[in-house]
């Protein structure tokens, strides 16, 4: 697992495509078959996965996309919170980070 840096490209792993999700209130209860774990994701974390559903993107793009998609209904997001969520998804094996020069 490579730690996500600010200018990395970020993409979903195959494990992320198998997850099962159910929305309760403003939270998402996620089942991850590859680890057999159940997670609770907030909207920010779920939006990161939504952002990457169709293609990989840079970390900056993900942060901007998520900020814009949530800011309409919520208070402004702290970019550090989004970066933390990206890092956590990486640790769970749901996203991969690639150094851009390797692409």
């Amino acid at each position: 697992m490579l730690e996500c840096k600010q200018h990395d490209l970020v993409g979903l792993t195959s494990e992320a495509r198998d997850i099962v999700s159910h929305e309760f209130d403003d939270f998402y209860i996620i089942y991850q078959p590859s680890s057999t774990e159940t997670h609770v994701f907030n909207e920010t974390t779920t939006e990161i996965l939504n952002c990457l559903a169709h293609s990989s993107a840079s970390s900056e793009y993900v942060m901007k996309w998520v900020s814009e998609s949530i800011v309409s209904t919520e208070n402004e997001l702290d970019p550090l919170d989004i970066a933390d969520a990206i890092q956590r998804l990486n640790e769970l094996g749901l996203i991969d980070c690639f150094e851009r020069e390797n692409q």
Binding site: F24, D25, P33, T36, T38, V40
Partner: protein, 305 residues
């Protein structure tokens, strides 16, 4: 055939020799014991439980027996065994019956992985069940005992057994072990309740068992649909509070209160998700049983209409 259909002599012989076959809901248990106090209490408490024929598959072969050697006579002990294996340190012989009751529950909790097992009391009325998932000491058994002596049917005071095929709750109406102050609380609340002797100084303090009402035992093959999730907490002198909680929080509280959520993987996820979706979810803080039962009756009447 029920246990009471045989004489105490036959029951004692069965316990000592071929074993006594008892049905607790969907579980069949064979019990061996050579301890007189166990046969007396089995005769007293299990009288209306159904016997199994002996041709059925036995889920657990249980023994609660005197050891061989000195401890049979000097400060006598009792040994709990499952399928012929000793699983725990010896108990004083006077605690043999609570050890038997606790041990059967332990067998279910550690082995019945064909079901999702929630640590929860479950009661039913009109086909709809309330689950009371709670940590030990939160007043689950006391509240459950009061409810089943107030018109609700007992499915279990300990296990929410969820059938994976359809999410229905399976009854296992076993004796309810009340602890410490709860014993007198229930004696006062329901003087007609069948409560056995108090066992002092057990690993859980003073324990006395309550036999479920007859109707709960006779209907032990009748499952129920989960309709309410209520997370109880008894706090001394606290005013009654019954409040809805977010379903995401209820999901986590149910999943973390399960005996085997991790064992069943995605099946658990599906079952808990469906259950939380189909239930109204509340927390309940109480100190007075009458107030709590009245509030539960009101809540479930509204929810049922």
């Amino acid at each position: 055939m029920r246990i009471a259909d045989q004489s105490i002599k036959v029951l004692e012989d069965n316990l000592k020799n071929c074993g006594l076959y008892v049905k607790f809901g969907s579980f069949t248990v064979r019990i061996h014991s050579d301890i007189p106090s166990v046969s007396e209490l089995v005769n007293h408490f299990y009288a209306i439980y159904p016997c199994a024929s002996g041709d059925e598959i036995i889920d657990f072969h249980i023994g609660i027996e005197k050891p061989k050697g000195l401890r049979r006579w000097y400060r006598p002990q009792s040994l709990f065994s499952v399928d012929g294996r000793l699983t725990f340190q010896p108990y004083p012989v006077e605690h043999a019956f609570p050890a038997l009751e606790w041990g059967i529950n332990w067998c279910i909790a550690t082995r019945a992985h064909h079901l999702l097992m929630l640590h929860s009391a479950v009661v039913e009325r009109n086909g709809n069940a309330i689950l009371f998932p709670a940590w030990p000491g939160h007043g689950k058994s006391t509240l459950c005992t009061a409810l089943v002596h107030s018109g609700w049917r007992l499915l279990s005071d300990e296990f929410g057994l969820v059938r994976p095929e359809d999410g229905q709750l399976l009854p296992i109406p076993r004796l309810i072990p009340l602890k410490n102050e709860s014993i007198d609380v229930i004696r006062q609340f329901s003087p007609g309740a069948i409560i056995g002797p108090s066992f002092y100084g057990t690993r859980k303090g003073t324990v006395a068992h309550v036999r479920p009402p007859e109707d709960s035992i006779y209907r032990m093959d009748e499952p129920a649909k989960p309709r309410w999730l209520i997370f109880p907490r008894w706090i001394a002198n606290a005013p009654l509070r019954i409040e809805p909680i977010p379903k995401s929080q209820a999901f986590l509280m149910v999943a973390t209160n399960s005996f085997n959520y991790d064992v069943l993987d995605q099946t658990s996820y599906r079952l808990v998700t469906d259950m939380v979706n189909n239930c109204d979810c509340h927390t309940l803080v109480y100190s007075d049983l009458y107030e709590a039962i009245s509030a539960i009756d009101d809540l479930t009447r509204i929810g049922h209409e």
